[in-house]
Amino acid sequence: MRTKSSTDARRRQTGRRHPLASIALITIGLLSTGGAYALLTTTASAETTTATQQSISEGQKLFAANCATCHGMTAAGTEHGPSLYGVGAASVDFQMGTGRMPLAFQGPQGAQKPPQFTQQQIDDVAAYIASLAPGPGIPDEKWLTGDSNTALGGELFRVNCAMCHNVAGAGGALTEGKFAPALKGVEARHIYEAMVTGPQNMPVFSDTNLTPQDKADIISYLKFLDENESVGGYSLGSLGPVSEGLFIWIFGLGAIVGVTIWITARPN
């Protein structure tokens, strides 16, 4: 009380504003810009999320039976697995849809394997996780058609993805046994979800970083690579000069040395 009266007194004396006023002003400013930003980004978001209560409860049962050992009964995470609050339906669909979850073993990176659940079961778990906290949802079909601008997609791919996934999507090594997987034959939906959620060692490419249209372009480029066989013949794994060098030494020079032996052979 005394403090207040003294400040009041000082205010009257100096005729200045309350010292907390500037703080309040900054708070209001931050809140409004942040709110506007959040509003704008949510309007630019490309996901569709519709889930029934039944689906959510089915998902919860599946989660409790198959995922809770590591992620905890409430999906809040344990020392063996991260919390799943806010990871969204997209993350669940990607991780379970590509067979990475449930993990075969704890290692540097979850390996891709045949999915362990039906799509209906995966959708249920996704609905349950999405119901816990808001997060990226399943992408809209219109971004996944693969008929957008492949040239722009190629350029975005080279700038954003090629340093780990290789320029032809053949995959590459990361540190400590982690790796960026090859992208051949990956479903458009999973590519989109991976960009939005940043699974395992991959960074998140949010909608402000790569807009949904950009993501659709990248998907179109990858689909182009998938659908169009290498024009120059067999691609040797798209691994570049290493496989080319091995090939010429083993098969090229090998064949020719065979010929030299044949030419100089004398009849016995």
């Binding site: 190629g154 320029v167 790796f179 290498s230 120059g232 067999y234 010429i248 020079l253 030299t260 100089t264």
Partner: protein
Amino acid sequence: MTTAQETTTAPSRGSRFTSAAANYLDERTSISGITKELGRKIFPDHWSFMLGEVALYSFVAILLSGTFLTFFFEPTMTQVHYDGSYVPLKGIQMSAAYASTLDISFDIRGGLLMRQVHHWAALLFVAAIGLHMLRVFFNGSFRKPRELNWVIGFTLFILAMAEGFTGYSLPDDLLSGNGLRIIDGMVKGIPVIGTWISYLLFGGEFPGEVIVPRLYSLHILLVPAILVAALGLHLLLMVINKHTQYAGPGRTNENVVGVPIMPNFAAKAGGFFFVVFGVIVLISSFFTINPIWNYGPYDPSPISAGTQPDWYIGFLDGALRLVPPGLEFVLWGHTWSFNILIPMIVVGIFIVAVVLYPFLEAWITGDKREHHITERPRNAPTRTAIGAAGVTFYAVLWAAAASDILATHFHLTIEAVTHSLQALLIVGPIIAYFVAKRSCLALQKKDREIALHGYESGRMIRLPGGEYHEVHKELSDYERWRLVDYLDYKPLMVRPDARGRISPMQRVRAAFSRWFFEDRISPATRAELESGKEHH
């Protein structure tokens, strides 16, 4: 029979024309002397003597396909917007060099095949040179009088790599641009003058706009001109020095046993040219090489995972990948990049050692004789061991260039791959040296045993006394020759010179000689062979 008689009695019109034309040429050029010499050059029949030819023929394939490519390639870095047939690059901004390479690949008939022929032939060219060099090394075919031809051949190897690298960079795609960036980094790593050289090379800050036309001049003009000249000299010296041959009955240091060039060998070699060309075209038709359309135009910001140079530059890239961290520091206002200098120095020493090896060995052995009989690798254990160590060293550096691909494809961590290769780079050559040396000595022992006592025939006989005995099958004289006809060196004895002193140089040389020849298996002598015969 009848035709032969006819031609001797009345030459046909065709042969009359041939002899008239030959006479016309000879009267004006005196070419018959050269033809006589060349036409009677003798080639011994052994497959390993044809590896140099493979290199020569792939070089011809490179020249032919390269000429085709120059018709359509635009060596400028002028920026254009691509408007060709490859959809995923339509409208993208790129250099004219890259755009014209895309046009060669997609819009010019036969262009992609020619590009692939050019590139595959280049890889084969350097690989064939490498194998040819290994043959010459392990056979001791670099000894007097062929030391100079070894140096010329080595120069050809370096020039081939220079050709390869300049060509690799021309399309101005992302992969080759990354390669150039590494070269730029290596140049800038040279203290004091590095930055200046880099600016000179690129005409300003990397990548600039002049590097492609400059590399183009080097690639199609300067380097090929030197290469062809060195190649001519290499072949000329081969004719002058005559061909080496393996030891065998009737083969001495003074003769060459084989077939003359004319007519059979020329026909065979001509056919072989088409076989090599055919293999290259077949590979080029079925297997992609350097799919530049995947890589996209060069732009300094992106880089692709799995970026590697072509195989023959791999050992340099590997050397850079194996350098441990923390070797860069600032001193006297300059950055000292020992992470770049150390690999450059180590690889430089390796290269100089390879080129000087014939002279080093000649100095150590003190052998001033001419050698026209190739040695079997086992009969020169120390040289073979040194070669094995060198090959291992090179191979580890080479593997290191693919460390990331080794990691992903064998499910290893890249750190484990790098550390293993670092250790192998030191330990590998040492192990290879001892394994090779001991193997050579063991093989020599076995040869000596066979020369003295013949092969084990597997036929057991029982003597009247009850003793069992295996019959040894004796070698024919022809077979034995191969096993006993080799040079037996002994370590150099240190002897005082005229003034009664022993120079330190003499001591060093004696020590090297001891290292070379201390462990040796002498060939079976005549007396031993005679007594061996009596036994069986």
